[in-house]
Each structure stands twice: as structure tokens, then as C-alpha cells.
Symmetry: C5
Subunit: 354 residues, 5 copies
């Protein structure tokens, strides 16, 4: 169940705001990327140090700092200082088990989301932590390593006359959320393909193995649900927030993401419906095959048991058994048994037993 519940207990007994990483520690270190852009300028720093970050912060335009990896508390802590983030915000960034939420602070909005991916080998959904901080002219994004799905946004930023370059920082936040949600559709499609495969399998030749796959699929849907349902509220509170950081112009775009998140939820629920139905089919399939087996057994036993009784009768060793000495007794008996056997076979055939 570790996939349902990250080991949050590691923090039990620590003071609130303690900066402790919760989650798997990846091999790779924490990597940074910084982008500064305005309608006319674009600058990218692949490995920014503190100084160059401070320099960027001072400049005009919008700063996007992308942090790839949330497993080093010291780094998160020093960034927190640089951008004056609340201790609870830092705690949430480090806690990969934190559920999606949106919080308003005095000078920034803080969002937690999840980046999903589908591990083809394991046939299971992977969930990665993702946080966003929106300040005026500055966006900080944090994600667990190996969850970078924002290449397309970066590309758009580089294009000199891209629309996004003309917009404010909240539009960048929207673009990142949109990328995240679009990615969910990819995952849902893969799950949909899996369900279809299972459906085919269960309708034609169900096995204990298909049941096991169905069980893990249902568990995946349960995990997905935990990531997706709160997302709706997150985006909704972005829309309803009266923060100055979200411009009226961007609201329509957030509405669009909201709409997509509802669509994802509906699809998820439809998948749950279908997989519940599949389990029912599976159960019936087993019953049906048991029934078929029973019928074969019954047909064979019911035809031959009486016949075996008859041959047993004429295998008795009584001194006086008149039939035994009849000339055609043997053939008559064979004939009678043939009639009896064929009769029963016809009867069962009519009853549609085989």
C-alpha cells in the first residue's frame, strides 16, 4: 500500500515546518533551470548559482525557476529564504505524499499537483510530486526528478513571437497546469487500452491471471482518484481566488483546465464502472465454465452408470439365471443398452447439455 500512502510517519514527532524529505530518493541530484523572458527578451540559465539567480530576480520580465528534484532539504530551504516562502510551503514541497491543494499566502499563491506517468513494464501508474509558486513576475516550479513534461512550454517561451511571451506570470502557471492535465489524458488512454485488452481477455478466456490484473487496475484507478479529485478543487480555488496575481484575462484559460479536470474525473469514474462490470463478467464466466464441466460429467455418468449396472447384473454368478443360456441373450442385452444409451444421449442433447 506504499503507493497509496507515502511514509508520512517519518515526520511524526517533529515540529511543524521541519524540512524533511518524504518519498523515494532518486539517483540523480537536484537540477535547476532558470528562464527570464519578456515580450522582447529571452534568457536561459542551465545551471544557475545563487548569485546569478539573484541577478535574474532583479531584472525586468518574468522569471521561471524550474527545480528538478525535491529531495534535498537544504536547497529547498535556501530557495525558500531567497523568495521568502512560508515554512509550511517548504514542508509541502519536500513532502511528495502531500495531496493536491492551493493555498494563498500574503505575497504568493502555492499549488500542489501530481504528474502522472504510466510505467509500461510494471503496467502501473506512477505518481510524481509537483509544486508551483506564483509571485508577481516570478514562477517557481518544483517536481520530483524524472517528471519533466514541460519541454513544450519551454519551447514556446523560446519562440520570439509566442503568445505566452506577451502574457503575465499567471499565464505561465496556466501553461504548466495545462501541460500537467494534458499529460493525464495520455495516462488515461493507456489505462483505457489496458481495460479494453482485459475486456477482450475476460470475455473470451478468463483466467486467475486476468483477475489479478483487474485487481491491480482497480488499485491504480483508486490511486488516480486520489490525485485527480482534489485537482478539481485546486483549479477551482485558483478561479475563485481574488488574488491580484491571477488576471481576469487568464480566468477563461483556467476555466478550460478546470473543464478538462472534470472530464478526467468523469472518465475515471466511467473506467471504474466498466471494471466493476468486468469483474461481474469474470465471475459469471467461471460459473458458466463450471456449469459446462458439470454437464459433461453428468451426461457421461448418467448414461454409463445404468449401463454398467446392467452388465453387472449379467456378471452375477447365480446358478439359475435363465437369460444367460438364451441364444441371443448377449446381443439382446447389447441392443437394449444401445437403445438406452442413445435414448439418454438424445434426451440430454435436447436439453442442450452438450
Amino acid at each position: 500500500m506504499e503507493r497509496i500512502l507515502k511514509t508520512m510517519s517519518r515526520k511524526a514527532g517533529m515540529p511543524p515546518g521541519s524540512l524533511v524529505h518524504i518519498g523515494e530518493i532518486p539517483a540523480a541530484g537536484v537540477r535547476f533551470k532558470a528562464f527570464r523572458y519578456s515580450e522582447t527578451e529571452f534568457e536561459e540559465l542551465a545551471v544557475p548559482d545563487t548569485e546569478s539567480l539573484l541577478r535574474l530576480k532583479e531584472k525586468e520580465g518574468i522569471l521561471w525557476l524550474q527545480v528538478d528534484g525535491v529531495h534535498e532539504p537544504e536547497i529547498i530551504s535556501s530557495l525558500g529564504e531567497m523568495f521568502s516562502l512560508h515554512a509550511l510551503t517548504l514542508e509541502d514541497i519536500l513532502n511528495t505524499g502531500q495531496r493536491p491543494k492551493m493555498e494563498e499566502f500574503d505575497n504568493y499563491l502555492f499549488l500542489v499537483g501530481k504528474i502522472l506517468s504510466f510505467d509500461e513494464k510494471a503496467g502501473a501508474v506512477q505518481e510524481k510530486h509537483f509544486c508551483l509558486v506564483l509571485m508577481s513576475n516570478t514562477v517557481l516550479s518544483f517536481h520530483e526528478s524524472g517528471a519533466n513534461i514541460f519541454a513544450s512550454v519551454e519551447n514556446r517561451l523560446q519562440k520570439p513571437n509566442g503568445k505566452i511571451r506577451k502574457k503575465s506570470a499567471d499565464h505561465l502557471v496556466y501553461s504548466l497546469l495545462d501541460a500537467m492535465v494534458d499529460n493525464y489524458f495520455l495516462v488515461l488512454e493507456k489505462i483505457g487500452a489496458q481495460i479494453e485488452e482485459l475486456e477482450e481477455e475476460i470475455l473470451t478466456e478468463p483466467s486467475m491471471d486476468s483477475l489479478e490484473r483487474l485487481h491491480f487496475l482497480k488499485r491504480d484507478l483508486t490511486i488516480l482518484r486520489k490525485s485527480v479529485w482534489p485537482l478539481r478543487d485546486v483549479i477551482n480555488s485558483m478561479i475563485r481566488s481574488d488574488s491580484d496575481l491571477v488576471l481576469d484575462d487568464t480566468l477563461k484559460y483556467f476555466m478550460d483546465v478546470y473543464d478538462h479536470s472534470i472530464q478526467i474525473i468523469e472518465t475515471l469514474e466511467a473506467f471504474r464502472d466498466v471494471s466493476a462490470s468486468l469483474f461481474d463478467i469474470y465471475l459469471s464466466g467461471i460459473s458458466n465454465r463450471m456449469n459446462a464441466v458439470m454437464k459433461v460429467l453428468t451426461v457421461i455418468a448418467t448414461i454409463f452408470i445404468p449401463l454398467t449396472f446392467i452388465v453387472g447384473v449379467y456378471g452375477m454368478n447365480f446358478n439359475y439365471m435363465p437369460e444367460l443360456s438364451w441364444r441371443w441373450g448377449y446381443f439382446a442385452t447389447l441392443a437394449i443398452m444401445a437403445v438406452l444409451g442413445i435414448g439418454m444421449a438424445v434426451y440430454f442433447k435436447r436439453k442442450d447439455w452438450f
Copy 2:
């Protein structure tokens, strides 16, 4: 599951507002029809070009532009320009996987719905995309090709003294929505007929095939649900919208459509109830038949196994077996076995086993 989830992933990584068609591409091209009407005039353009459209737009009266096919982004895009539609609106028109919704823009209302049809051959529900744009004196309707259910509305427009000719543009929108919802009843009736057929079948002679049909029926109901539930909210937000585009006089009519959408939802839920119950019946039917088979086997085996034992006894080759030399030993044994067999048969008959 492609029917539950259109391939929305095609757009992942694209900037928002990218005009990409999502859905099946039909053989037919995009076709237009334009109608302009007022209380006294009526004009129809079967294949309008841009110029004649512009001309119509300038004229008095109400313009209804019907677009049959949403799979050519360039066409949708140029219409968007002509009528100054928001980029997100164009995106939604092209995305046939978009769920039903209603959005207010500065100068227009935008509605997404679904046109349903029942494919008799496949025995499955087909869902087609449908969008409406309501501006003052102009209505744009978009639907996937092969989903034109608006012939009756066109007819009414042509009649010189039809009520609809005297009403404003929002009444046309109402008429189109009403046609869409009335069409749902047709689909529900066909599904109802299917359920009735299945009910008959499952109550008399259930087979693995009926189960499969039941499964696909349930999946159809799941798909329908995704189209119909949001519809209620769409119409409700039309009613609650304080846009000038919806006149007070039309509200009563929208209320009526709202009412029908609730009725459709209730019917759908009742169908789900009934089909869940049918599955239960199916399962019991299987169990019952297994029971019947078991009883036959048990009756035959239980009667003949002891008898076969008896004849086996007198088939033994012991030198000293006094019964064998008795004069009536054979017939006495036959008689005893007859009594035993008939006794057991009567016993089972009384226990109602066959």
C-alpha cells in the same frame, strides 16, 4: 475504451488554443448552410462562400449558420475570425471529445452538447459533437458530419407564419437544443427495447451471449451518462445566466428543456437499476441450472451406485456363496434391487429433486 475517451492526448504539448481536430475524420467534407430570416423574410444559402456570408451578416433579421463537419481546422479558424470567436471556443469546437458545457463570453454564449444516435447494426450508441454560438441576431451551429437532426427546425423556419420567425435568436437556440433532447428520447426508447429483449432472454434462457450483451449495454449507459449529466448543468446555466442574449420570454422554454433533461437522467438511472437487477437474475439463473444438473447426477448416481454394488457382490467368485445356488436367488436379488431403486426414486421425487 476509445468510445469513453476520445484521443485528447493528440494535443498534449501544444500551446493552448491550438486548432487541432480531435476525433474521427469522416469521408465527407465540411458543408455549410446559411439561413436568414425575420418575421417577413426567409432566405437560404445552400453553399455559402465567405463573401455571401459577410453580406448576410450585414442584412437585417436573424442569421443561422449551420456547419456540418468539424474536422477542418482552417475552416473553423476562418469562421472564428469572421465572427470574432475566442481561441478557446474554436479549440472546443474542433475537439469532439469536449464534454457538454456552457460558457459566457463578452459578445456571445457558447454551448457544447452531444447528438446521440443508436446504431442498430452494432447495437451501440453513437455520440456526435455539437456546438452552438449565440450572438445577438446570429446563431452558429456546428455538428460532426452525419448528425443532422435539425430538419424539422429548418422546416418550421420556412413556414411564413411560424411562431419561430417572430422570435429572437435565443428561441432558435432553444429550438435546436429541444431537437437535440427530443432525439435523446428516441435513443432511450431503443435502449429500453433492448433491455426488454434482454430481460425476456435472461428470464427464459440465459446464455454467455446475453451476458456479453448486458455488459455492452451497461457500457452504453455509462457513455450516455457522460453526455447527459452535464447537459442538465448546461441548460441550467443558460437559465441562470444574466446575459442579455437570453430573453425573459424564452426562459420558460429553456425550463421545459431542463425538465426533459432531468427526465432523461432519471430514465437512465432507472435503466441502470434494471440492468443491475438483470445481472443478478442472470447469475441466479446459472446457479439454478447448475443446481438442476447436480440433482440429475445425484439422483442417477445415488440410485445406481448401491445397486451396482449389489450385483458386484454376486459377481464375486468365492467358492462358497450359498445364495448363488438358491433356486430363486437371482430373481430375489432383482426384486430387492427393484424395491431399493424405486424406493430411492420415490424419496427423491418427494424431495422434489427431479
Copy 3:
């Protein structure tokens, strides 16, 4: 499923407000009754014509026009003209598939309800359409033919010093709704009796037939639900309506009906609970009986199969089988088999297998 979904599709493609009857057409024609009463006067017209109706309308006191049968659009239409009813109202009166609702119009309130009856022969619930129009000093009631449950209200009107004679028109509406809801209790009691019967049957000797009855019972409850749940909202909106047509004094009475409608809903849900539980009992009953059958088969087979093997051994024709020539070989074998058989029987008895 026709009982769940009336053929509303008949109207697909027609303009809204088209007056088309939807539902079964009864043998009987449409019949009228008109009552005019005040504290001091009472007048009844059994077969009013248009003229006498108009005359009654002019007079003082409260007019109640009862229309028995809604299957003649022309009649409904002419009444609509006489009392200036909205086209949508007339449409709803004619549509027997219309769900219960309450609508406020400028000069009247419009209510749709359902009159239920229990068809003893078919063992099924019948649902009849029922509409009420409340104007100042005038009440119009429409019901499908064969659904007159208002005799008691008529009687009370005739009594010179009945309370109802002193009250306003909304009190008459209340009395009619109260009669309708009281009638529901009658239907529920009959269903309750059916459930009790089924419970008895399923607990003692369940059969495929009881399952079928249970299925139809559940379908009946599904249909009832569709009539009863919206009723609560109907009465609630009567109470919350700020129309002048509903006097403060009458509110307490509507509250009482509201209360009863909740009680009906709760009873319905309890019935659903109980019938779901009954299905579970049924399934277990089948399993239990299969188990019993299996045990009998197993006991018989397990006792006799080894014995039959033993007698088979001594039926072999080997030249050298020393036991065969022993003086007491036969009886010893019989004795051993008896001990074995009885031993196994005792063992199974102890295991409580028969």
C-alpha cells in the same frame, strides 16, 4: 421498459408547444365535472358545455373543473384558450410521461403529479398522469381516465358546513394533493404485503419464480421512485413559492403533505433495502441447497465406490486367488465391507453431512 419511459419520441421534430397526446388512449372519452361552491352555495354540473362553463366562471365562489381523460388535444386546447393557459402547460397536460413538477406562470400555478394504483391481477403498479392548475378562485384538475380518487373531496364539498367550503382555492388544491398522497400509502401497503409474502416464500422454498417476482417488484419500486422523489420538490416549491395564490394559512397544510411525501420516500427506500436483502437470501438459499445435494452425492459415492472396488477384486478371474477357496471368505468379505460402510456413514454423520 415502456412503463419506465412513455413514448415521448412521438413528438421529436415537432415545434415546441405542439399539442399531441402522449400515452395510452383509453376506451372512454373525456368527461367533465364542474363544481362551484362558496361558504353558502354549492352547484354541480355533470356534463358542462362551454357556455355553462363560461357562466360558472363569471359567478362568485370557487370553481373546480375536473377533467377525466387527457387524450383529446382539441378539448385541452379549447380549455387552454378559455382559461388562458400557456402552450407549454397544455403540452405537459397532454404528455402522460411528464414527470412531476411545479411551475409558476403569471396568473396561475401549474402542478404535475402521478396517481398510482396497484393492479392486483398483474401484481404491478399503474401510474396515471395528474395535473392541477391553481388560479384565483379557480382550480382545474386533469387526470387520465380511470384514475378518479377524488370522490371523498367531492363529498366534503357537498356538505353545507364543511371546513373546505370556507377556505380559498389553494385549500382545494391541498385537498386534492392530500388525496393523491394518501392514495400512495394504499399502494405502498399492497407492495409491503407482496414483499412480506415473497420474504416468506424465499425463506422457506425459493424458486426461480420467486426470483422473477422479486425482479418485477424491484422494477416497480424503480418506477415508483421516479414518481415519488420529484413529488417532494413539487410540494416544497409550493411551500416556498411567494405566489399570492397560496395563502399563509394553507402553508401548514402543505407542510403536512410534504411530511407525508418524505415518509413515502423513506418507506420506498426501506423497501428497496429489504428487497436487496431478499435477493441475497435467495442466492444463499440456492447455494445451500446445492450444498445439500452435493453432500448426498458425496456420501453415497464415497461409501459405495470403495465397496464396489472390493467386490470387483473378488470378481477377478485369476487362477490362483487363495481367498476364494476359504470357507468363510465370502462372509468375511461381507463383514469387512459392512464395517467399512458403517464406519464411513458414522464419520459423515459426525461431520454433519446428512
Copy 4:
């Protein structure tokens, strides 16, 4: 189902406010007790007549009139006149099927509740009607005969310096409701004990009888639910009521009862959960035992059927069967069969079949 639905139909067709008793008529007659108390005085009248009641009513202090039995409409009616109660209130007092509710009238608050008891013999929950009328300085309480659980409240009233004597009439109402709700815990505990017993039984040796008990237990929980869920709303509307009859000081106490009613609801739902789980266990238990039976049958049949075939072979009467004349043929055959039989037994043992 009479326990789910009291015969409310008896009133169908009567004018509203008709005083008809609905429910079982007990052997005992209606009994009265009247208490009048103030901080300094206490008076009890065991069998008050109208006159003495009127006299008490005139006096200072708080009057509590306890009516034990609601099956005599005349008595209820005359009390109604004396205390000017609304006709609908009297109707509800007489109707033992009335669900819990709270209603505000001009000069009094009216509450309906249920007094529960657990009939140890029948193992079933009994539900008794209970009504309260709170006027300024006067409390009327009505309950079905045999449901007096208020002895403790009476005792407290008698104590000269009891807190309750210093409080207003609404505190008496609170005390009565508190007694009623405390009583629910007693009933829940008894049901809890029953569930525990059933759990034990079903986990060790489930029988058709335990299933039946489980079914009736679930029905009891369904009935309880109907009494308890509305109770929460009743007490909540007492708290939210802005009537002068409920003092601010008493609110905290009503909050406490409210809290208890929620706790009862939660316990009820937990009981439902557990009993649903028990049914699942029961079903599995049956399947498991069927499985065990099948295994025994299969082991026996699978071992002996092939052996019986072998002895059959050497029981054939062919003239030329060389094995028959071998010196050790018989013993070799026995040895082979022993090896075969033991081999199969070991195989099944390893497969854990017995």
C-alpha cells in the same frame, strides 16, 4: 412490512385533521399524570380530571401533563381544545406511524419522536410513538402505552433542590428528549450484542438459520434508521428555531442531545457495514464448505474409479487372458493397485485436498 409502514391508509379519503387513531390498540386505557413544579413547590396528580387540570393550568410554576396512550381520539381532542392545539397537531399525535419532526406553531412547538425498546423474546426492535408540546410554562407529553421511560425525570422533579426545578419548561423538554436518546443507546447495545453473537456463529458454523437472523437484523437496522435519521433534523431545528420558548441557556444542552443523535446514526451505519460484511463471510463460508465436500468426493472417486477399472479388466471372461494363469498375477495386480492408489493419495495430499 407492517413494521416499516403503519396502516396510514386507514385515513385515505378523510378530510385533513380527521382525528383517527392509527396503530395498534393496546389493552390498557389512556392514563394521565400531571406535575406542577416551581423552584419551591411540587405537586403531582395521578388521575387528573378536566377540572383539576384547569385549576393546575391557572396556578404558577411549570405544568407537565403526561399522557400514556394515544389511542382514544376523544381524549386527545378534548386536550387539544383545552390547550388550543392545531387540528394537524392532534392528527399527528394520534398517528403512531408519523415520522419524527418538529413544527413551530404560533403559541407552541410540536415535536414527534420515537421511543425504542428491544423485545428480547422476539429479538426485534419495538418502536413506540412519542410527542411533545412545548408551551410557555407548560409541557405536554404523549406516548403509546407501555413506553414510559421517564421515571428518572419524574424522580429528579421531586427532589426539592434539583437543578431542573430552577429551569424553564424547555429544560424539561430537553430532559425528556435526553431520556429518549439515552434509551437508544440501550437498544443499540443489545443489537450490538446480537451482531457479535451472529459474527461468532457465522465465523464458526454458519447455517441457514444464521442467515435468517442476519436478514431480520438488517431489517431491524432499516427500521431504526427511519426513526433515527429524522431525529437529527428534529433536534437541529429546535436549536435553530428562533422561538422564544427555547432559551439561550438551554441551547448548549440541546447541542449535547444533537451530538448524541449523530453518534447513534454513526453507530447504526457502522452496524450496517459490519452486517453487510457478515453476509459476505456467510456466502464464502458456504462456498468453502461446498469446496471441501467436492474435494472429498473427488479424492475418493479419482482413486477408486481407475482401480475399479483394473479389477474389472481381470473380471472379463475372455478365454485367452494370459495374466490370469500367472502364478503371482493376483498378487502382482493387488500390488500395482496399492502403489497406484497410494500414489494418487499422496499426490492429493500434497495438493492439500484433504
Copy 5:
């Protein structure tokens, strides 16, 4: 069911506010600890008497009185007097069955929570009572003995420059709630581990024992639910309370705890989902194994019953049976039977029956 419902009936019939302990009485007595701290000072009293408590109360700074054990009404009562707590508050402190809630009194806030622990031996969740009283500058905490999880908070208080020392009393309340909720994650993790173990067991070799464990697990989840769901409301009403006792600065922290409580609820529901799915798997596992057993029986019986019939035929004692005297009759019969037997075996193999 005693774990679902504490014996609250012990109080039935007592006046409200009666101080009676409800719950298990532990061996240990009630123990006290008192802490007084300000930014600069820290004082701890291990066994405070009344006098020293009064002295502490007078001093500056924040007083935290920790009461370990709630089973001595006199002690609770005297504390109630010292801190002027409402009688109902004292009642709730003594009642270990009280559900979580938050109540505002004139001069203090009162919270009830539950401290959970997982009894490894019994494999069951233990629930302990926990109450908090927040006054200005004073916090009282009560817990059942053996439920002290606040050591970490005590440690932080002792550190001279701990953040908590600079904050107000409501921050201490937050710290205690946070410790309680963090502890829930520990319990959830242990349950998660149990579910994983069961999942492994049920997927590989399900037994009646795994079913029993699953049943008790589900019961544990039901109990947890009763503790955790109301917790959310408790913390939410802390946040929404407009009491002066909760400072704006602390709200963000309570929001964090609220967030965690939601996460716990979601995890719980996911666990319920998974365990429901496990039960389904269990059932299918049984069916599958029954199926396997049936197939073995059927294969053996179906192959050997016809063969046994054939050998029976040639065991008959008819005088005239020509085959018997054929030279190769015996071997031909053996050969035919071999072909028949192998043929059937191949057939069943192909049908994948063994």
C-alpha cells in the same frame, strides 16, 4: 461490537451533566503534569497539587496542564471548578465514547479527539479518548492513560529558543492536534502493511483464515472512520471559529492539520476500496479452485466410466458371447480401450481441463 459502541447506556436515567466515567478503567491512577512557559522562562511540575496549580495559574506565561487518565470523576470535577468549565464539558471529558467535536463556550474552546494506536499482538486498532480546553494563556489536555504521544511537544517546549515558546496558547493546541494527526499516519501505515500482506496471501493461497482477517480489517476501518471523519469538521470549525482565542497567524497551521485530516480520510477510503476488491478476489479464488477440482473429477470419471462399462460387458456370463473365444479378443479390447482412453485424455487436454 463493544469497540464500536462504548457502554453509554450506563448513564441512561441520570440527570444531564452527571459526572460518570464511561469506558475501561485502567490499572494506573490519574497523573498530572503542568508546564508553564514564556519566551524566556520554562517551568515543569511533575506532580502538581491544587495549591501549586493555583500559583501557576496566577503567574505570567502560558500554562499547559496535562491530565493522563480520565477515569476519576472527582478529579475532573475539581479541575472543572478551578477552571470554571461547563458541566457538559466535564461530562464529555469523562465519556470515552464521546465522538470528536469542537464546542465554543464563553471563555474557552473545547475539543474532543481520539488518539489511535495499533496493537500489534491483537492486530487491531485501539482508540483512546483525548480532550483539549483552550483558554487565553491556558491549555488543558486530557487523555486516557497509556495514550501519551506528546513527548515531542514537551521536548520542544523545553528548548530555550524553540519557536513554540514565542507563540500563543492556540499554537500549543495546534501542536498537540498535529501530533495526534501525525500519529494517525503511523497507524494507517501499519494497516497498509497488513492489507499488503493479506493481498499477497489472498492472491496466492486464500484460506478461511484470510477471510476472517479481512473481516476484522474491515471492522477496524469502520472504527477508524468513526474517529477520523468527524475530525475534519472539528478542525474546520476551529478554522472558521471567530473566537479571539485563535489568532490569525495560527490559522495557516490549522489549515495544514485540516489538510492532513483530509489526506487520512482519503487514504482510509482507498483502503476500504482495496479491501472490498480483495474480498472479490477471495471469492473468485474459491470458485476457481472449485472449478479445478471439478475438472479433475470430471476428467477421471469421464475417461474411466466408459472403460469400466466395456470391461463389465466382457465380464457378463452369457453362454454365447462369440468375442470371448476369439484368440486376440482380450488384447483387441485392451487396445480399443487404450485408444478410447488416450483419445479422451487428448480431447480434455485440448479443452485445457488439466
